[in-house]
Subunit: 338 residues, 4 copies
Amino acid sequence: MKKIKIGVVGLGRLGRKHAENVAFRIPNAELLAVCSVIEDEVKQVQQEWGVPYGYTDYYEMIKNKELDAVLIASPSGEHCKHLEAALDAGLHVFCEKPLGVNIEECLNAEKAVEKHSDKVFMLGFMRRYDASYAYAKKKIEEGYIGKPILVRAYGLDPESLVEGAIRFAKTSGGIFLDMAIHDIDLARWYLESEPEKVYAIGGSYLHKEFGEFGDCDNACAMMQFKNGTMAMIYVGRTAPHGYHVETEIVGTKATLRISSVPQKNLVTIYDQNGAVQECVSGFVERFEQAYLNEVQEFVNCILEGRKPSVTVYDGTLSTKVAYAATEAYRKNELITID
Amino acid sequence: MKKIKIGVVGLGRLGRKHAENVAFRIPNAELLAVCSVIEDEVKQVQQEWGVPYGYTDYYEMIKNKELDAVLIASPSGEHCKHLEAALDAGLHVFCEKPLGVNIEECLNAEKAVEKHSDKVFMLGFMRRYDASYAYAKKKIEEGYIGKPILVRAYGLDPESLVEGAIRFAKTSGGIFLDMAIHDIDLARWYLESEPEKVYAIGGSYLHKEFGEFGDCDNACAMMQFKNGTMAMIYVGRTAPHGYHVETEIVGTKATLRISSVPQKNLVTIYDQNGAVQECVSGFVERFEQAYLNEVQEFVNCILEGRKPSVTVYDGTLSTKVAYAATEAYRKNELITID
Amino acid sequence: MKKIKIGVVGLGRLGRKHAENVAFRIPNAELLAVCSVIEDEVKQVQQEWGVPYGYTDYYEMIKNKELDAVLIASPSGEHCKHLEAALDAGLHVFCEKPLGVNIEECLNAEKAVEKHSDKVFMLGFMRRYDASYAYAKKKIEEGYIGKPILVRAYGLDPESLVEGAIRFAKTSGGIFLDMAIHDIDLARWYLESEPEKVYAIGGSYLHKEFGEFGDCDNACAMMQFKNGTMAMIYVGRTAPHGYHVETEIVGTKATLRISSVPQKNLVTIYDQNGAVQECVSGFVERFEQAYLNEVQEFVNCILEGRKPSVTVYDGTLSTKVAYAATEAYRKNELITID
Amino acid sequence: MKKIKIGVVGLGRLGRKHAENVAFRIPNAELLAVCSVIEDEVKQVQQEWGVPYGYTDYYEMIKNKELDAVLIASPSGEHCKHLEAALDAGLHVFCEKPLGVNIEECLNAEKAVEKHSDKVFMLGFMRRYDASYAYAKKKIEEGYIGKPILVRAYGLDPESLVEGAIRFAKTSGGIFLDMAIHDIDLARWYLESEPEKVYAIGGSYLHKEFGEFGDCDNACAMMQFKNGTMAMIYVGRTAPHGYHVETEIVGTKATLRISSVPQKNLVTIYDQNGAVQECVSGFVERFEQAYLNEVQEFVNCILEGRKPSVTVYDGTLSTKVAYAATEAYRKNELITID
């Protein structure tokens, strides 16, 4: 069996998860190399999992002629440089979201991908590869819900993790770029159109610290799409019950609602509180399988000479909308996206 | 509009509820008289609701020539005597469950009812008149589930009310007569047959006091019906979450499950516990509308010259099965019901 | 027991329901008179329910000196005239929504109510009196959810009733005035503030006929409130599954979601489709008890010398917001409400 | 990283799944060999996945000195011979359920395991390794539900697969051995005791063919355990909605219910049927991750010198109970298990 040899850059929580998946859970892939600026991380992973090559310099790693592909989980500010260099080095690229930290970077990324159209490029909008989200898409493609007319999407981080978000507030780009971008991608994907008008509101209702950076802890955006359809997005950082990602697609014939209760598992507890379903604690717990599926799809695309459904343009367009929502929120105005 | 004039005997929690329903919520009925051995109760209800007649002696009340019917909510030990006297006095009778406290009483009640076949007699198996239970019956009658083959029924009282049950333990007749009788009636109703074999087990797992009276705090019974169908019943007095009555009817084509979560209302609370549905606290809260519906049906039957679907025989037969379950539990044997 | 004597004007579906409730289900009320321009309706109701007085002329009815109060369920265009005349006649008034068909009418209604401040005036925002909605309000008042920051409200009519809506489209005032006004009232009630900015979008996705009248079949509105809180409203006329009214109140400490599934009853059906909960078919089925509760509250207010929580101003303010949403939708602009 | 080298015998649906898991999803394991009497299966798997060794003779395979362990997924009648030979050959053994096809075989298996107490032996009761089942066990061990007093377990195969069950009816051992054994194991595990009395009933309600072999298509069993606790089990082969495995553990302080709706995924569909959750189609779909987890645990036990929680005795004891239930059903008697 042909195995795609992959190098992973970035060994933070998500990078490590990706590396582990490549190493052990993707039959037709091999974790050939890992790279991190923290040398100890590299050594530890190499030893623990028997990874042949380790690097502290990304540009050294991509010179490795045995590599077929890289998986980029480095800090957001590095994504564009890393993906361009990898493509130029003749490698297939899987890149974590966001594509870039501003539109210029995204447009540069587009050019790099276009220049290497023989290479597979994929962006990590993992929700599309979650079993339930993929199932909804399939139902829609089969015509089951008629024409999709509205997407309602919630993306809520748990209050229990808010301290990290506060520390990250200065550089996160704000709640729309940091969080809503996933929901924006989903709305675009399900509605098969691009937002044209966006209005957004929000506030720092519980944690004033976000306000100091022009950001907020809970926010809503409403969008009109070019094909006349609609999206309502709610993102927040203070959910008391856990990590709540919920998406609803209203169609002219049926409606699909994904994860109305972000259930931890299939257990219902009947106790003095009533009938209780515990909730997932974070994105890794919720989307563990999706993180695996997306990289599996990336590898399959390489092997089968296909292109994945998430393109570089999805990255640019979602970023553009997130910027427009941020502007709408900051100016308290309706923004037209050009 | 012709109004049925009703006298209510027994002004405890349930009797009072019935009286209130007759007085105010049943268009074609009138609360003509109330009766209780506690004179103050009688006076209070008369004054508050403007009830024409009040009695402390039941036998005086049924002499009242204006009366069309009585509603018996007196202590269980009085039911049979009260219903017989009322029928003999030419009155229609609605009688709270249980029909009698032993089989002999039930058989006497049957005779009294048969003697007055021109009168409407109805037994208070209110669950049959709950919207969801009635809906399930209708679905079954329409053939939607094919042939019903199994009824699973739960009847659980909340731990918060256990003190009352302990005080009542000596005279309650045990958990099968006191509680499971409703579930037995439902199983008979949905399966359209009579139990032939019953095995029962249980224990005083939390409150040893029940054991002192040959009773228990949680118990299960399994029954084989004459038509080959099955029932599994679970009754308990220690539910931490509230009053939990749940019934499932498995058919060859579909299954109906009623009240898998005994929800208090339509609110889901997302809090630090997860996604929570609060539960109903007791039988009056759960079956408030059913208590009204059954008496409305009683009144309609009188006015329309019909007989209700709950007959005196349902009382006898369910009692018989409850006794057999009690015997099975006490002897730890499989009991054949003759 | 003192009974409030009520005259009901309008004997359409809802007026008849109100009349029936007054006649039979509200202990301390009496249906003294009914009024409709259709004489047969009046006669039929009088005969069937034994109503003492019948009228085809509203202004005749309110001259009846035995009356304490009127319940107005006449066509929307008559509401303001009817309520003013009744107040001037010394009667308490319960008025179905909408308060008026334009702001001027609403302001006139306010003046009439203010002139007769000794009278009870109540507007029929019945959702506030639904057990689940009232429970949510209570939870909020107790501080359980912290500070409410977002209301999401759905008000969806079933596709099965769309023909009626199409016929009514010309005069309905549009989807925001006709339908969203309930959701607007709820958002105002739960957030305890008034909307300041509103953006709205929508379309005639399934039934082009609505577009001919400047209306649409599905629409969304997003609002920023003066206290910085948010609301997202979705209204539609094409729900395939039934009548779907759902409301969520997100707070800083907990979230309450009301009726995520608009269940018909407590039965879950397991069949070849999966696990199915059937849904309610329309507003009368869903809010039957709320329609009763609100009139009961009206009567209690009269008897106890209290004022109900729904005031005439709720009518004006909700109407104002509905107009602003309509304007936002028609101009595709963000509207500031003065 | 040390990898456990495993040989898999049996390449049917489940055997192939196990082999695939060992090959690709268990980091510290390696699929060294596969064995099947069907040579083509062996060759295909070897080629497709690059498996070093292939056998058509199991006894040849276990001579391979590179092997650390075998995974037995051969026909049930071979299990005991295969496991004994493997243990004698110095290999660790993972054996699919059932342990044996009669008690004698099970006792022989016990002896073989006891003789090689230095080897890891594990039986494939995979449900214990499902995330929700394991979570319930953890909650119980933490004391959250107080003392467990009742297990209710459902194990229902979909009607869509009944043809296979009919063909298999002659040799399946009957519904209790074939299906309820999983539920029996769960009840024993959660209640921490052994059944002492069992009564069982059932029927061939939809498919008379089962009756011809003394079997049935739906059956119930009720059991009293030595520690006084209770179990109610319902197994069936005609579920219209899919594969329905549901388990409830009632405790003195709380109740846990696992998978009340055997949901296919997190999507709720609102369509003309109502609010619908589609259901899983079969055991592989439902327990895919559990099949992986159990073998991962097997491998971890080998590497860490631990013994798994499922022992050979669990196999014998559950089999014994399944036989007793079969006897109870066939004789329509209460059976005491010695």
